[in-house]
Symmetry: C2
DNA sequence: CTTTTTTCTTGATCTGCTTCATTTTTACTG
DNA sequence: CAGTAAAAATGAAGCAGATCAAGAAAAAAG
């Protein structure tokens, strides 16, 4: 069952008794999402935090007709419009499935109950947020320090498994460049190799 | 006393009894820092998380001789090299005082004890991390979507009180542009107004 | 104050990356 | 598996923002 996967993930951060595990998993519901289906859209409040059991997602904003990717998520990552979710404000992002996917999602109110009910659950979400924040700090600094080409190389190095599953235009917009420019970088690289 | 300021801040997120407040504040120590003094340097592990009681700080990386600012912090903000602090790895950032400042700092191990000792303290640090993460998400998306000029305008709008306390070259490097270009933006704007 | 250092400004030139337009390739869909 | 839609590649031209060099202003130090 897919909840086993979630619990294995959670237990890699906090130890849980079997009762606690059951209590933690209970409010999560499994959702199947088809490729190209949206799970979050601007102006609608993101009511769930979702754990990716299988598949891939992308969250992005649209500005002046251009898409700008905030995040990708594959197995064992979380997705949502985080600002919308934690403040329960209308979303500004789209979150879309890049493949047919399976999620385990929890409602905002249920998550609050979990955190209140057990110190360990609170700890788990604290760790998730801290890791996320540390990750984004690294990303921001790297983006400030490096060229488009270096950002692409760095992505390949750190997320080789994302490369094949993420469309190139989406990756370009995640890395802060146009899809044309990323194409040129890849082309240049391919020619260097031969 | 400066701990009253910290506790007022903490209590704006979680309710604390007087005993709890005392317990929370106990491991923090007050540190006075002179302008231009560093509290974090690359290769040294950041042993403390620091709450700014008075003054201003900047965290930044140096790459190819260029400085790139990750964060500013004034009264009631926290500073550290967050990656270094939470993972207790060597830092990659500098953190420097922009003014003569007063900090309340807590050691990493002491923070772990606090979080273990009281569910509310854990909740507090969870909220800090979540707010921080949400903030950086907004920043990343905004940076991806907007021009240098728009990023500057947005900063003025959101952090008017930082403008007078932060040197322009540091702001430029926070916003991902050169100090020369920021100067031109400001100049252009000034001329538009007359 | 006066000197020195740091920060900010301004101009000239250059380039990394974008934009636009078109073609080729790949992936879906009936 | 044919037809259509989506994604990626390629070329030419343009521009936002960088770089370099020098001077002006402001702040810190003596």
């Amino acid at each position: 069952m897919s909840k086993a996967q979630l619990l294995q993930y959670v237990r890699s951060f906090v130890s849980l008794t079997n009762e606690e595990a059951e209590q933690f998993a209970a409010p999560f519901e499994e959702v199947h999402v088809k490729k190209r289906q949206f799970i979050v859209q601007p102006n609608f409040t993101s009511r769930h935090r979702a754990f990716v059991v299988k598949g891939a997602f992308r969250s992005y904003a649209v500005h002046d007709g251009q898409e700008h990717t905030l995040q990708f998520a594959i197995e064992n990552w979380w997705v949502s419009d985080f600002n919308s979710y934690i403040y329960q404000h209308p979303a500004t992002l789209f979150v879309v499935a890049l493949e047919d996917s399976i999620l385990l999602q929890i409602e905002h109110a249920k998550e609050q109950e979990l955190k209140k009910a057990n110190h360990k659950f609170e700890t788990f979400f604290r760790i998730m947020a801290e890791k996320g924040l540390a990750f984004e700090h690294r990303r921001i600094i790297f983006n400030l320090c490096h060229s488009a080409e270096a950002r692409y190389e760095n992505f390949i190095l750190n997320f080789p498994n994302f490369i094949q599953r993420v469309p190139q235009y989406a990756l370009a917009s995640y890395l802060g460049m146009t899809t044309e420019f990323l194409s040129r970088i890849r082309n240049k690289k391919a020619h260097r190799r031969s």
